[in-house]
Amino acid sequence: MSIARVRMGLVVAVALGLIYGVAPAAAQLPNTPGATPPPPTPNMPTSEAATKLKGIAAPPFAAAPDKLPLAQLKLPKGFKIEVYANGIPDARSLRIGDKGTLFVGNRVQDKVYAVVDRNGKREVKVIASGLDRPNGLAFKDGTLYIAEGTKISKLEKIEDNLDNPPKPVVIYSDFPNHQAHGWKFMALGPDNKLYVNVGAPCNICIPPDANSQIRRLNLDGTGAEPYIRGNRNSVGFDWNPTTKELYFTDNGRDWMSEELPNDELNRVTKMGQNFGYPYCHQGNILDPQYGWGRSCSDFVPPVALLGPHAAALGMRFYTGSMFPAKYHDAIFIARHGSWNKTNKIGGDIYVVYLNKDGTVKSQESFMTGFIRDNNYIGRPVDVQPMKDGSLLVSDDYEGAVYRITYGNGKVASQ
């Protein structure tokens, strides 16, 4: 048989396979069988103003560097912002390797990027592609861990092999498969375990047992267990450097009110705590669907309210020494910005100050300007302090990473 005919046959076969439902090569698993699908959001409003509100899609391409919105971003006195890297469409979670390589994940696209300074230049490289929502990143001992929609894999010795990265090796794949809130945030705990969120597979529903939790597992993929429950979708968490307690953001439900509920900052004081979803929101509002007969006092309330629909995502404790003392051990939080609200809020970097005992002292905006005339000109996703104490901010709307410095903090060399 000639090559052409074989080829034609293959093409036809694939085409037919698609019609008859054989999963294509870059397969996605079918929805978890047996899991009862959640109902559509009940009682969706139908007023005209409500119909204007829908999720905002990330632009598919990164913005050209001269189009980045730096000039509109406002910082407190003494702080400066510059572009650290651009040309990273859907730039999401940030992690820095031991050798200073910045890794950047994707949510709606399929890649993991590495940003590295070499030969006096800053390079942006794709080190993995064809992944399914690789939003979670963690790094330990030379290995980058990637959390996708349904699995965690690793790239060993990655910083030494950026030009010829290894194929990701799966270490764990026991996640439920769902689209809503299916992308994951991941972080390495002080206990050397990987912590990963498993979001609720809906806006508002009673989640299956495997969902609505932050799970942790060993670096080799064993020993997975739920750490806390009752979160809706946490896309950022970090540990208090002093107390080693986990703090996490959580996105509140939609379609309840323009002004309610608030997104949350939560604090874990012991394993197994339940933070309320779907029964109680923001610590004091019982859900219109599921809250009847319940009491918010059965759940752990948040330690701070982060604005209604503000989409509080990535967060880190600031432990550097470049910023003024008041920011030491404060939490920087990226507020991606709202969609379920006529007058948008968020689109900023927020800071929460803690007391020595870990309770919240106060909170305020730190860097604003991503919302202009009620439209987005950028949307921050994650924050990551660098070794020199500057702060990186990813922006999935513009496909860039910014760097915030203070005082004489040098501009990172190009």
Binding site: A26, P60, F61, V108, S129
Partner: protein
């Protein structure tokens, strides 16, 4: 397999063949590739080929994203991955722009089953399809124009979202399709393919 099934199978085979005779090298410009696109998708925004979507009046953002997903193999659909291979970001933009200006597809002629239309209308209201797709189903931004799309393509797409074999750019369709049964998918496709 039914006779119809055989016929479909044969048509796809022929089509796939036909569409691929001019398999473009990466060096081909958008302009050079266009005739190949239109050979399958139809010259006037209206596709006459089973399960190949009409593209007329499609939303620019949506087309851009779909082409991107084909180029990056986030969606694996032969022959689209080859069709999009090697296209630059600007190529994708200009293709999307061109496609959005093609005339909108037209509904098929013939009598309609009003009972089915009514069932589907109720479903649309209950599941708020027209919030994202708008009241005329013309779509907006990342939400596609689906009015008068080919019925067989709509079925394929909705089924694909439901069994997760078709990747969405985001979770929206997977989310809303969850409570919809296959019988309801058929009614919805019937209705949307015929909206006036």
């Amino acid at each position: 397999m039914t006779d119809k099934g055989r016929l479909v199978r044969k048509s796809i085979a022929v089509l796939t063949l036909g569409c691929l005779t001019a398999l473009p090298a990466s060096a081909q410009t958008v302009k050079e590739r266009l005739p190949t696109c239109l050979a399958c998708h139809g010259e006037n925004g209206q596709s006459k080929n089973p399960e190949v979507p009409s593209l007329g009046a499609q939303q620019v953002f949506y087309v851009t994203v779909q082409l991107l997903m084909f180029r990056e193999r986030m969606r694996v659909v032969d022959p689209m991955n080859d069709m999009a291979k090697g296209l630059s970001d600007d190529d994708l933009r200009s293709l999307a722009d061109f496609i959005s200006k093609l005339p909108a597809p037209q509904p098929p002629d013939g009598p309609v089953d009003n009972a089915r239309i009514e069932r589907a209308r109720t479903l649309v209201e209950k599941n708020h399809c027209n919030i994202c797709h708008t009241a005329t189903f013309a779509g907006q931004e990342n939400v596609p124009h689906i009015a008068d799309q080919r019925e067989d393509y709509l079925i394929k797409a909705l089924r694909g979202y439901k069994d997760n074999s078709r990747r969405g750019y985001d979770a929206a369709m997977a989310d809303v399709i969850e409570p919809i049964t296959d019988a309801q998918i058929l009614d919805l496709a019937y209705y949307i393919a015929r909206v006036k």
